[in-house]
């Protein structure tokens, strides 16, 4: 075992544990592991600014995306439409409480919490209001990484449209547009967020 002089200048691959010297990157560059090909570190362009505005837009869009009807059907003169919230309420009416809870979490609660989280973090960075509690906050933010399923729900909308198309008259409402925009904002705000940068800055601020 060789001696390691300075841990701070080393990084390890998250997927295969290979050890590297920390590369010096310019904005927009990323370093990949030579053994497993995973991204080691990435410096994103304008991370704080972009993520701030995307999440702000996402927060504003979340209300219409949830409450406006996504699509409606007409059959023998009767019309009915439904929004994302109606889906959850319909599941509760049917007695499927577990599914209702999970759909609520994956398509509504987690995306909103993540947008608010990204907004709060970038707001604190933008206006230099760093607090030690941000360490815990950002750590908690990462727990929700895998559980946003808006893109899957979008595919679900497309599939159910096909399903309804052949025997009913289908109408598309404003909710669909709002939902698509919301999906874009939520994806962009989390992908624009530069985790390595945020952690490094937080460490610099609160190193004891």
């Amino acid at each position: 075992m060789t001696k390691i002089k300075n841990i701070k200048s080393l990084i390890a691959c998250q997927q295969c544990d290979a050890l590297y010297d920390e590369p010096i990157l310019k904005q927009g560059q990323s370093a990949k592991c030579t053994r497993c090909g995973c991204t080691l570190v990435e410096r994103k362009v304008d991370s704080i600014e972009r993520s701030f505005y995307w999440s702000l837009a996402g927060i504003m869009l979340s209300a219409p995306a949830i409450s406006l009807p996504i699509m409606g059907v007409t059959l023998v003169g009767q019309f009915h439409h439904a929004s994302l919230l109606d889906c959850i309420l319909a599941l509760i009416d049917n007695g499927f409480f577990m599914i209702a809870t999970l759909v609520f979490l994956f398509t509504l609660a987690v995306p909103i919490v993540r947008l608010l989280g990204a907004f709060y973090i970038t707001y604190s960075f933008k206006f230099k209001r760093l607090k030690p509690s941000l360490l815990h906050f950002f750590r908690a933010y990462h727990h929700l990484d895998n559980w946003v399923m808006l893109n899957v729900f979008m595919l679900g909308i497309v599939v159910s449209m096909y399903k309804l198309l052949d025997d009913t008259e289908l109408s598309v409402n404003m909710g669909l547009l709002a939902f698509i925009l919301w999906l874009i904002c939520s994806t962009m705000s989390s992908s624009a967020l530069d985790q390595d940068y945020i952690w490094r800055e937080l460490e610099k601020e609160f190193d004891n």
Binding site: I4, D17, L75, M98, L102, F138, N146, D166, Q195
Partner: protein, 214 residues
């Protein structure tokens, strides 16, 4: 080029903030470590990774059986209910000639869960025995599995949308069937199984085998 791992050097990587921590002073194999940056507790390797993966995987496999037997949704038209299982829903699409949608649903709700379950069994077996272990290929395979996980929820969302939209009283209405519970459980269990697998074990095992040969 010889690649050193963090574990060999007595370092541990925090899974959340990706900070390397020196754990030489801490005694005990795979003890809990407090990260010096984010103050969270973590382990050098996920503890009991293979056992947890295997257990969640078996649970997913068990839940997958009733998910395919029971109807996932019941279509009422003129008061008469027609139960639909996942497979009969797909065959309906094929009857209508909507092949792309049939392929999407078949992939998302049958192939992906099965591939995930079988693939994770295979990964666990390979890591445990070290037979024909190819870490580079297997870790790519694992990432594909991890990425595909949430897409199996597609069928659940489709049913949720249909029961909300198609609510025309006596004429047509759709209600969910019991299979949706089991199917959701399958998806959640495979996601947790994939999360509890630690891909670094693949590389550890490979390195262990090579050292044993020399």
């Amino acid at each position: 080029m010889i690649i050193k791992t963090a574990k060999e050097s007595g370092l541990a990587l925090c899974p959340k903030c990706h900070k390397l921590n020196d754990i030489k002073q801490i005694s005990g194999n795979n003890a809990r470590v407090e990260c010096s940056r984010c103050r969270g507790m973590f382990y050098q390797r996920k503890p009991c990774s293979l056992q947890n993966t295997l257990a969640w995987n078996v649970a997913a496999l068990i839940a997958f059986i009733p998910a395919n037997i029971y109807p996932i949704m019941i279509v009422f038209s003129m008061g008469i209910g027609e139960p639909n299982t996942i497979l009969s829903g797909i065959s309906e699409f094929i009857d209508y000639g909507l092949y792309p949608i049939a392929v999407i649903i078949f992939t998302a709700s049958i192939i992906v869960p099965l591939i995930k379950i079988i693939g994770l069994f295979l990964l666990v077996y390979r890591v445990h025995t070290g037979v024909r272990l190819r870490p580079d290929k297997h870790s790519k395979f694992y990432h594909a599995l991890e990425f595909l996980g949430p897409w199996s929820m597609l069928d659940v969302f489709v049913v949720a949308l249909l029961i909300a939209v198609v609510e025309l009283g006596f004429v047509t209405s759709v209600s969910a069937g019991p299979a949706i519970n089991y199917f959701t459980l399958t998806v959640i269990f495979t996601m947790i199984a994939a999360n509890s697998f630690d891909p670094r074990l693949l590389w550890d095992k490979k390195q262990g085998c090579e050292n044993a040969k020399e």
